[in-house]
Amino acid sequence: MDMFNYTLKRILQMIPVFIIVAVLVFVLIRLIPGDPAKVMLGERATETSLAAMRAKLGLDKSYVTQFLIYAKQLIHFDLGDSIKYNMPVSKLLGQKLMVTLSLTLVSTLFTIILSFAPGYIAGIFKDKLPDTIIRVIALVALSVPTFWIGLMLLTIFAVHWKFFPVSGWGTGILEHIRGLILPGITQAICVSAIMVRNLRNNVVDIRHSDYVDFARSKGISPLRVSTAHIIRNALIPTTTLLALRIASMLGGSIVVESVFTLPGLGALLVNAIYARDYPVVQGVVLLFVVLVMVINLATDIIYSLIDPRVKLS
């Protein structure tokens, strides 16, 4: 099946899942205890003003009516208005999406830089010193909590040595990049550990496979054996794994954006939960779900491109 038809088929399959997710999100959000009106107006607000606020926010209607409004709006890609910021949720999401996507991109780049070479080296020098050192570092990196290492990096490189901003991501492309470096590295640490271990194991398996021996028997240079055969084949499962980890990095952005005070979707979600800003929480969660689905689809397509044995069906 060619890529276009496959994509179409997958999108059609995603729709029922999305519908169930949308219903689930609606129910979940309504289950969050607390009254948005009270959060906005404060503890001392009078009952009348609270009632007025609730009416304004559409919270006085029955759940069924609320759901119907929600569904109707969704079909028109309208996510409602933010209670806290008084602007369309979709506009809010658009602003923050760029930040989170940039963060994810930077994290992915750092992951590749930090993991591909060490993973290969560890595999080639299996059980020798380079392998042991790399594996120990990877093991420790796996046990390091992301939010803590972020704070440590912040303390050292932003507060103590003022290389990077302490918070936010500034204005302008250069400032943005500067503001994303520490958060990017922070997120990359944990994911790189997973990548290094995966790549190392692949290289170890492939290194002694028949086709590598056959290639060597042809008298081609060790460099070519490494690149055209070992690395090329070892990277296939690793790349697919990386694509899947990108989806979980989206969730991780919640913590990282909080630590580095980045104006992204994750920070938006946390703040919206505190503010009981239903429409925003709904919108962010739904957007995350869509992003995950898109990433999964892209992963499958990329996998079929790099491994000719895999056919899209």
Binding site: V17, F18, I20, V21, L24, L28, I29, L31, I32, P33, L139, V140, L142, S143, V144, P145, T146, F147, W148, I149, L151, M152, L154, T155, V159, H160, V166, A247, S248, L250, G251, G252, I254, V255, S258, V259, L269, V270, I273, V281, V284, V285, F288, V289, V292, M293
Partner: protein, 276 residues
């Protein structure tokens, strides 16, 4: 060219080291009062934000609370969160995985649909949403991680069952007329359990980290209960001036995580050598 002839040592070094480290932390968790005479929630306005010293090994925070005491007393809760949040998904997820994999058909189809729906959410997003619903706090953490954590076990166990199910010894057992229950417990379970256990060790680490992260965000363990993530959260405001508040609980997190990770790695090595 020289080749080293290595004698095989009897016990796996990762496993051994992991068990040692974990035992140390279990000891700390069980007997915190042996290690410090300070009360973790007692405030002392006379020594606020004091740097580490002989008097206060890890310094004090802005309320004058001894960080060493707070860190040590947190151990019990953090380890409990790690193990407690993992154990329920371990059993529930494994059971679902075996049922879905073994019986296949409609049951499996329904299970896969449910999995798809849960898989559509990034871990943290769903976890935070559930914690918020469950009113934050420690119980909320458990509920949230139980609800989000089972899917990995189900997926893992299910695919292992699918492989084992078609093995000849299972077919042989069926031909001999053994009951489903017996086939599952005797032939299938031992083989799939090992990968679930190895994953479980790394899951303990993940649960500890997630619990700490959510407490850091203020959605998990509530003050003044000491917990490593919560302590770190309290230290953020004093980033530049009192780095010790954040450093030491974090180191405890890393080390305890390392202990469990080593156990997981050691088990994984041993099980792999047993020729799966």
């Amino acid at each position: 060219m020289s080749v080293k002839i290595k004698k095989k040592s009897s016990i796996n070094p990762s496993l051994l080291l992991g068990l040692i480290i974990t035992s140390v932390f279990v000891f700390i968790a069980l007997f915190p009062s042996l290690l410090t005479q300070y009360d973790p929630i007692a405030m002392d306005s006379k020594s606020m934000l004091a740097a580490p010293s002989a008097l206060h090994y890890f310094g004090t925070d802005n309320y004058g609370r001894d960080i060493f005491a707070r860190t040590v007393y947190s151990t019990r809760l953090d380890l409990l969160i790690g193990v407690g949040a993992m154990i329920v998904p371990f059993f529930v997820g494994t059971t679902f995985g075996i049922i879905a994999g073994y019986y296949g058909g409609k049951i499996d189809a329904i299970m896969m649909r449910i999995l798809d729906i849960f898989m559509a959410f990034p871990y943290m997003v769903l976890a935070i949403a559930i914690v918020a619903i469950a009113n934050a706090g420690v119980n909320a953490l458990f509920i949230s991680m139980w609800l989000v954590g089972w899917k990995e076990y189900t997926r893992l166990v299910r695919s292992e069952v699918l492989v084992v199910k078609n093995a000849e010894y299972v077919e042989a057992a069926k031909v001999l007329g053994y009951s489903d229950f017996r086939i599952i417990t005797r032939s299938i379970l031992p083989n799939v359990l090992s990968s679930a256990i190895v994953y479980g060790a790394s899951d303990i680490v993940m649960c500890m980290m997630s619990g700490a992260a959510m407490s850091y965000l203020g959605l998990g363990v509530q003050p003044p209960t000491p917990e490593w993530g919560a302590i770190i959260s309290g230290g953020k405001a004093f980033l530049g001036v009192a780095w010790w508040i954040m450093l030491f609980p974090g180191i405890f997190l890393v080390l305890s995580g390392l202990g469990f990770s080593l156990i997981g790695d050691g088990l994984s090595d041993i099980l792999r050598q047993k020729g799966r």
